[in-house]
């Protein structure tokens, strides 16, 4: 077996590895069970993730079905992401979304609640984006009527 002897390759790779965790299996199972919990609440981030996906899709005038076909994503999974903010997306789906919309992979994985966010500003800026991107267009006649009827129903309860 011939290993790479280029010191520049080694330096570059070692710098990227940066002393981080690399374990596959191994010691210290006593300490923590494998899980996906991170010390931040993923819900607000996922709200931003869903809004980002929605706006990028609309920017390209794509339906969910068209996006699923073009980005090679399972339509049912895409529908769940779009409709259920509590749904934890599949990592491969998020990577394909990142590739299709030319978005950076790691921040998008963090936004989807699949990787730990890098810093506090990430959560702050994501929340700000989600809040600012909420639609403010006027209600249609039908929406207005439906809203009034539902509010009346609530008031009568």
């Amino acid at each position: 077996m011939k290993m790479n002897t280029d010191p520049n390759w080694l330096k570059k790779k070692a710098s990227m590895e940066d002393g981080g965790f690399v374990s596959v299996g191994g010691l210290v199972s006593e300490i923590g069970m494998p899980g996906r919990e991170f010390p931040v609440n993923a819900d607000p981030l996922r709200h931003a993730f869903v809004r980002l996906l929605q706006l990028k899709r609309r920017e390209k005038s794509l339906s969910l079905e068209e996006l699923a076909n073009k980005a090679d994503i399972d339509l049912a999974e895409l529908m769940r992401i779009a409709r259920d903010e509590h749904h934890t997306p599949n990592i491969l789906t998020v990577c394909r979304i990142a590739e299709f919309f030319r978005l950076p992979q790691r921040p998008l994985l963090a936004l989807a609640g699949l990787l730990e966010p890098t810093d506090d500003s990430f959560q702050h800026e994501s929340l700000r984006f989600a809040a600012r991107s909420e639609p403010v267009e006027k209600l249609s006649r039908e929406e207005h009527k439906a809203l009034e009827e539902y509010v009346k129903f609530l008031c009568d309860k």
Binding site: M1, G19, V22, I31, M33, G35, R106, L109
Partner: protein
């Protein structure tokens, strides 16, 4: 097999020579228990006291090396170690049968499966930071992945590689190595299955 490989000495930032070997014995595994475990536990306790939740401390499958002696004699299992300064710096167990590719473009093709890969705790920066010390050598994980890719090439699998990554290791495999995260595997505690295509393996090797 015993060949020289470079690692980076973190204190100087320069390459130093280590030894890659494949005649791993049960003594080597016992050495990980003896030398690695106390450091890992101490670092983990400090991280917990500092308020970090267990989920951001390395999570590992339970591996009882004292029961793995039989594994050493199985031909389909290949074990590799890296030694420097008379200490084990990293260990890996690779399997050449029993797993196949899952990525749609190469589904069903043979690959090398990384069943176990671990570096000594003194080479893991977050653990050493918790203990107030610098980490020692960099690039050990990269070398072990390189061994796995080269074994895959030697076996005729063209660099195809698969593994179940722990959550804390995902940044290394997905971002640093650029493996494709195929998705959580419900049969393996929802750990993420990551895979190399031949092109990705070539990219990793710098070819």
């Amino acid at each position: 097999m015993r060949i020289a490989v470079g690692l980076i000495d973190v204190s100087t930032g320069e390459p130093v020579q280590a030894e890659l070997f494949d005649d791993v014995t049960i003594e080597d595994f016992l050495q990980t228990q003896r030398d690695w475990r106390p450091l890992v536990l101490e670092a983990a306790q400090r991280l917990t006291r500092a308020g970090d939740r267990p989920s951001i401390i390395p999570q590992h499958f339970h591996w009882d090396w004292t029961r793995k002696e039989g594994d050493l004699r199985m031909l389909a299992n290949r074990f590799y170690g890296i030694r420097r300064e008379d200490k084990l710096q990293g260990l890996a167990k690779l399997m050449t049968v029993g797993h196949v590719c899952r990525l749609p473009e190469q589904a069903g093709k043979p690959l090398v499966y990384v069943d176990y890969l671990e570096v000594a705790p003194w080479n893991i920066k977050p653990l050493m930071t918790a203990l107030g010390r610098p980490h020692r050598f960099a690039g050990v994980g990269t070398r072990l992945v390189e061994i796995a890719v080269r074994l895959s090439v030697d076996e005729g699998f063209r660099g195809r590689l698969g593994l179940h990554s722990l959550p804390t290791s995902e940044p290394f495999y997905i971002n640093t190595c650029a493996m494709t995260p195929v998705g959580p595997d419900a049969t393996k505690q929802n750990l993420t299955w990551c895979e190399f295509t031949p092109a990705q393996a070539d990219g990793f090797l710098g070819r």
